[in-house]
């Protein structure tokens, strides 16, 4: 993407916590990032790293309680999505920001036809009547590659296969031509061949419609194939951020390096054991006061236990949150 393109989404210092019986869980800590027009931002990290919670927080889709957005700003078209009232937010959800979820098996309502579920956003946001919405719904299904689209509008979700259902979800998310599409592990629940098809579909639709995409995944292979820029998350924080080639070529954060090593090589030696990152992801009990990765980090130093590193710029559009890449530490931690 060209430098200096305008930002469609600008997230600053987002903090989300969950109230549980055993205290607060700090799931998202001071996450800041932005999304440029037409860009595809990949978000990677292992389970529990706060990827999904971050993206759900953006449009306040988390059930509250237990979730609570403590601080932050999400600027979208001059509006702070965390401040505007629910009605305004609902006008944006599904119309200007679309969502695709992980599990297409459960993401569609089983008792309504696919046509009904596709018509809903069209009638809600675009003010179409039922007939117009039906026509547009058939076009959308065709666009996402479902054969005999207008006949299938009358079918129920259980009459579709997993891949087809994910296509329906994509059609719903794109129904009103959104500027931003947030895809929360859209291929994780699908088998590999279907995954590839969905990836191709998204690539193609992106070319055609030009929306910006946030793609959440823990599959680095997917990221390499599709993303422009990558954000690596760990322990509810952004630990590294870089354009995709730069990240794969020149990872700075020890976690990113470790993550890249865990990817199995198809052409590698069979006898080689799969690399793993030892240990467990941290339990995010309190506000972080130390580097969340220090306990699993092979190169941890004393300061890692005392201070949480801030993102430090290490190159053009490349930043990492590690004490080792910011030896001077002149900037105070936020």
């Amino acid at each position: 993407m060209p430098d200096g393109a305008s930002k469609v989404l600008d997230v600053q210092n987002l903090n989300t916590i969950f109230q549980t019986r055993s205290g607060e869980i700090h799931a998202v800590n001071n996450v800041s990032f932005d999304l440029e027009e037409g860009e595809l931002l990949g978000v990677v990290g292992e389970s529990g790293s706060g990827k999904s919670v971050t993206m759900m927080s953006l449009i306040r889709l988390l059930p509250s309680p237990p979730a609570e957005i403590r601080a932050g700003k999400v600027m979208f078209d001059g509006l702070d999505l965390l401040k505007i009232d629910d009605d305004k937010l609902r006008d944006i959800r599904g119309a200007r920001i679309g969502f695709i979820f992980q599990d297409p098996m459960t993401s569609l309502n089983p008792v309504f036809t696919v046509g009904f579920q596709l018509r809903e956003p069209l009638m809600r946001h675009m003010g179409l009547n039922k007939k117009q919405a039906n026509k547009r719904a058939a076009e959308l299904l065709e666009m996402v590659g479902i054969p005999a689209a207008s006949a299938r509008l009358k079918d129920y979700p259980h009459q579709f296969s997993g891949g087809m259902r994910q296509r329906v979800m994509i059609a719903i998310a794109l129904a009103c031509d959104p500027e931003v599409l947030i895809a929360d592990e859209p291929t994780t629940a699908l088998d590999v061949t279907i995954q590839a098809q969905i990836l191709e579909l998204i690539k193609e639709l992106r070319q055609k419609l030009g929306m910006a995409i946030i793609w959440i995944t823990h599959d680095l292979g997917v990221i390499a194939g599709i993303a422009d820029r990558v954000m690596v998350m760990y322990g509810g924080q952004v630990v590294e951020e870089a354009p995709v080639r730069e990240l794969f070529k020149n990872p700075q954060h020890p976690y990113t390096k470790a993550l890249l090593k865990t990817v199995p090589h198809v052409r590698g030696e069979r006898a080689e054991r799969l690399e793993v990152i030892e240990g467990q992801p941290p339990i995010l009990g309190g506000a972080p006061t130390a580097c969340p990765f220090r306990e699993r980090c092979p190169v941890a130093i004393d300061i890692c236990a005392r201070e949480n590193p801030a993102l430090h710029v290490t190159g053009p559009r490349h930043a990492a949150a590690c004490h080792l890449v910011a030896p001077a530490r002149e900037e105070a931690h936020v």
Partner: protein, 337 residues
């Protein structure tokens, strides 16, 4: 679906025949004597003659087959004749199921009692459901709120307080202390104008209230649990992500799914409506089906008890069938082939 329904209907014939036989067997084994309520001055040999005249001297299987003939053949024929005003298959000699005690046809007795029961018990069922569903929906949506806690408390009361207590309690409060409603249900009241309609409503309020409390307690719990199951489903998140209003998310997406199990529970509860409310009918002196059954049992009136119990069995079998069919209609994933 039609195939399935027909198959089920066919299968229910042997089931019901078997049930009727079991009921007959149990009633026959029970140590009861239809002459037991007669004055003690009647000598034993006369009692014996009375029993003979009732046909009690015949062996069990003969009496059972006679009942079958009377109930399955003669009664439907009689209904047909009454409806068309004809007299087919020499209707004068046709034997109907006749009560030992009143000597009148059992079916006529039931038809006489049905309106009161349907009005009071049926109305309480409808009222109970209409109250229970919103309570369940709101309780689940605002889980652990004050409303939810209050709803839980009321259900607990409804489950645990028996109608012979709550019935008497409302009589003491509303009839004795406040004097708002009559404590006895007057069956002879005919609704002809506004005044009598008001009277009818007044005398119905208390029994309906007592019975509706029980229905509400049950159904609202089911509804709440079912809503809670569905509220955390992924499709609810999808609906919200589409920008739909909370009311649409809740009352279209979640409610439709949550109603599926609740509707079957409601359908299974319908036979109980026709069965009447034995205790509540006694408390408020409603002479409905429940009361008829009690009188029949007390008087050793085997044909009456046999017929009533068998009709309940038919209702239960059909309610089960209807519940299954409704399930198939409401949930597109269910297909019976």
């Amino acid at each position: 679906m039609l195939n399935y329904t027909l198959r089920r209907l066919m299968f229910s014939v042997p089931v019901l025949l078997f049930i009727s036989f079991i009921i007959f067997l149990i009633l026959d084994l029970a140590p009861s004597d239809p002459t037991g309520n007669l004055p003690l001055t009647i000598p034993p040999e006369v009692r014996e003659k009375i029993r003979t005249s009732l046909g009690l001297d015949a062996p069990m299987w003969v009496r059972y087959l006679l009942w079958c003939k009377q109930f399955f053949i003669n009664e439907p024929l009689n209904i047909w004749d009454q409806w068309r005003g004809t007299c087919s298959f020499n209707c004068e000699d046709r034997l109907r199921v006749v009560s030992y005690v009143t000597r009148s046809p059992v079916v006529d007795l039931i038809v006489e009692r049905m309106p009161q029961t349907l009005w009071v018990v049926g109305m309480s069922y409808v009222v109970g459901i209409l109250i229970a569903i919103p309570i369940g929906v709101i309780s689940a949506y605002k889980q652990y709120s004050v409303f939810d806690q209050a709803g839980t408390f009321i259900s607990m009361v409804g489950f645990s307080v028996p109608p012979f207590f709550s019935g008497v309690l409302v009589i003491v409060i509303f009839s004795v202390q406040l004097g708002w409603f009559p404590s006895i249900y007057d069956t002879t009241l005919e609704v002809v104008d506004w005044e009598t309609f008001k009277m009818q409503v007044k005398q119905m309020i208390m029994p309906v209230m007592v019975l509706a409390l029980q229905t509400t307690a049950q159904i609202s719990r089911f509804m709440r649990a079912s809503m809670l199951d569905n509220l955390n489903q992924d499709y609810v998140r999808t609906a919200r992500a589409k920008g739909l209003k909370e009311s649409v998310v809740l009352l279209v997406h979640v409610l439709r799914n949550s109603l599926i199990p609740v509707v079957t529970v409601i359908a299974l509860g319908v036979p109980a409506v026709f069965g009447g409310a034995i205790i509540t009918e006694q408390v408020f002196k409603v002479n409905g089906i429940g009361q008829l059954l009690i009188i029949g049992i007390q008087g050793g009136d085997a044909p009456l008890v046999q017929t009533l119990t068998f009709i309940f069995a038919v209702m239960i079998v059909f309610a089960n069938l209807i519940a299954d069919i409704l399930y198939g209609i409401l949930d597109p994933r269910i297909r019976y082939d």
